[in-house]
């Protein structure tokens, strides 16, 4: 009896703490989204009120869609994020496979060399990266961003994926070899499908900093036609903000895509981190 009461109390306390932090975590998002649907007057009069019919207003959204090249920014961000993510996952998995599957001279050293990048941030090389991109004529192109983000994501991807690939059974791979599969076929048809959870983990940890990065778009691709959404949202935030509806609407729209991507990957995420590497 006493046991049961203690565990009840504990459950309630646990939920209380989690709900408190959930409220703290979501409150700013709530404020943004709610006010993006209100008229300007209502935003200021009562910021916390829900957008009831009397001050429901879509003026913010219509302004954003009419004025700035919002879809252009959005498209740039999507292209950069998806292409970089694809390259990081493909090249990262290939290198991880080479490191975990084969013994060759200098394999340890190669592993260490590739892991170095986890600890040292690519931003410190910005000065020289800018010079390379200027020399290659890549300034103000999406290619420049994709190259940088691919390089930035690779070390962690190789590290996590090679830990996972060590757990794929040798018998399976050898069975494939006996059946005459090439090393490439073994990698693409046997190993890759088995490390899907790890790929999802890597995808989430790679995707977030790319989507949200302000540093490299600001330095490598500030031109109007290659702006990413993170940089582009700043258009609506002048030093003296005039169009509050538009700002709030732009920010609400910017939350959506990354949230959708996260939800897609997150089903695999916990399984991914639990099963290996980062534990």
């Amino acid at each position: 009896m006493a046991q049961a009461r203690i565990s009840w109390g504990r459950t309630i306390a646990a939920h209380a703490i989690l709900i408190t932090w959930t409220v703290i975590a979501l409150f700013p998002v709530f404020v943004t989204v709610v006010n993006s649907f209100k008229s300007r007057r209502a935003i200021f009069a009562d910021p916390l009120a829900l957008p009831w019919p009397e001050h429901f207003d879509l003026v913010g959204y219509t302004t954003v869609l009419k004025q700035g090249d919002f879809f252009g920014y959005f498209q740039n961000s999507m292209i950069v994020t998806v292409v970089s993510l694809f390259l990081v996952l493909l090249f990262g998995a290939m290198a991880a496979f080479a490191l975990s599957e084969y013994r060759f001279r200098g394999d340890m050293l190669m592993g260490l060399y590739l892991a170095l990048g986890i600890m040292i941030p690519i931003r410190l090389g910005t000065v020289a990266i800018l010079e390379i991109m200027v020399a290659g004529g890549l300034v103000n192109t999406l290619t420049a961003l994709i190259l940088v983000y691919t390089a930035q994501g690779l070390p962690l991807a190789v590290f996590i994926l090679s830990e996972f690939m060590k757990t794929v059974s040798d018998d399976l791979k050898n069975a494939g070899r006996i059946d005459g599969l090439s090393e490439y076929a073994i990698f693409f048809t046997l190993v890759l499908p088995l490390v899907r959870p790890a790929m999802a983990t890597v995808a989430v940890f790679t995707m977030i900093p790319i989507w949200n990065d302000l540093w490299f778009p600001l330095i490598l691709a500030p031109a109007e036609e290659v702006k990413t959404i993170t940089l582009g949202s700043q258009v609506f935030i002048g030093q003296f903000v005039t169009n509050w509806n538009a700002v709030l609407a732009a920010l609400s729209l910017a939350i959506l895509p990354v949230l959708v991507l996260y939800l897609i990957f997150s089903r695999q995420l916990i399984r991914g981190i639990t099963a290996g590497a980062v534990k």
Binding site: A14, M94, L99, V127, N212
Partner: protein, 303 residues
């Protein structure tokens, strides 16, 4: 018999190694190299470590540098004292068996982490703004309005406020990693402890915490590297001048201003590289302290 050359290994490694080397390693060394040069009377010349001497010792540069470094250290301390304990606590609660809605809480708490700095900086500025006033209004509701201050606008609070906003945003990462570590502790270990009468809080302190120490180590070093590279939040919330009066200036914003110039200040790639070099040294030092001083002492358990 000589083994044939295994070309496929090279094929698997080549794309990753090429991109990583060309875009990451070469520029990193390029930056370090650039920091050894400066403009002299007859053009650019090799100056050895003179840029670093200027950075650390010349009052025109040193004040700003030490100010930024000090602020950065405080930024890191706030994260270690607030973000990681909260993350661990949330993960410990989430991982308790038979908790309903765990997936919902996990996703909700992780949402700030996926938001862009532009959103985070802007929304918190609004909430804390004395004019729009959600924060003063909320404090008024609980009768604590007298506690309100323009936190982002006052030199003595601004940096701590920004650090706490950053904590709010990133608490999801330690939570996720620790949660995964806690889930991977085998049930047998916990059941054995239960047989010995160790349950609840004492099970956490005596059994789980020692087992997740390596994960806490990884989180600490990731926090360290992340904090000493921070730039975006400060830039979005306070601008490149990191106001009020440089009180929120950290190494990232200092590097940006120095290298690219801002308003009346001209860009200086050589001193900028020197700052990047100093940051490189600081991060390397921290990573070495962790690898050789802490990690080797952590005991790992295999299940």
């Amino acid at each position: 018999m000589k083994r044939p050359v295994r070309w496929h290994i090279a094929v698997f490694l080549a794309p990753a190694v090429l991109i990583y080397t060309a875009i990451m390693i070469v520029p990193l060394f390029g930056t370090l190299n650039l920091s050894l040069f400066n403009t002299g009377p007859d053009g650019v010349e090799f100056v050895g470590l003179a840029n670093f001497a200027t950075l650390f010792g010349d009052p025109r540069w040193a004040d700003a540098f030490w100010n930024a470094l000090g602020n950065n250290v405080w930024f890191f301390i706030v994260h270690m004292l607030v973000q990681n304990p909260i993350g661990i606590a949330l993960a410990a609660i989430l991982s308790s068996p038979r908790l309903r809605m765990a997936a919902f809480y996990r996703t909700a708490i992780f949402i700030p982490t996926i938001l862009s700095f532009v959103i985070v900086g802007f929304v918190w500025k609004l909430i804390l703004s004395p004019i729009w006033g959600i924060a003063p209004g909320l404090l008024d509701l609980v009768g604590l309005k007298s506690l309100f201050a323009p936190w982002l606008g006052r030199e003595e609070y601004a940096l701590t406020t920004l650090a706490l906003i950053s904590v709010w945003q990133f608490v999801g990462i330690p939570m996720m990693l620790i949660y995964a570590a806690l889930l991977s502790i085998p049930d047998e270990v916990l059941e054995a402890a239960e047989m010995d009468g160790i349950t609840g809080m004492s099970a956490f302190w005596k059994i789980k915490l020692p087992l997740i120490l390596p994960s806490i180590g990884i989180i600490s070093i990731l926090t360290f590297v992340g904090n000493f590279n921070a730039f975006d939040l400060i830039y979005v919330a306070q601008g490149a001048l990191a106001g009020p009066d440089f009180s929120t200036d950290i190494l990232g914003t200092f590097l940006y201003r120095t290298f690219f110039g801002f308003q009346l200040q001209l860009g200086d790639p050589y001193m900028g590289s020197a700052i990047a070099g100093a940051m490189f040294g600081i991060i390397l030092l921290g990573v070495c302290v962790y690898l050789f001083g802490i990690q080797t002492r952590l005991r790992r358990y295999q299940f």
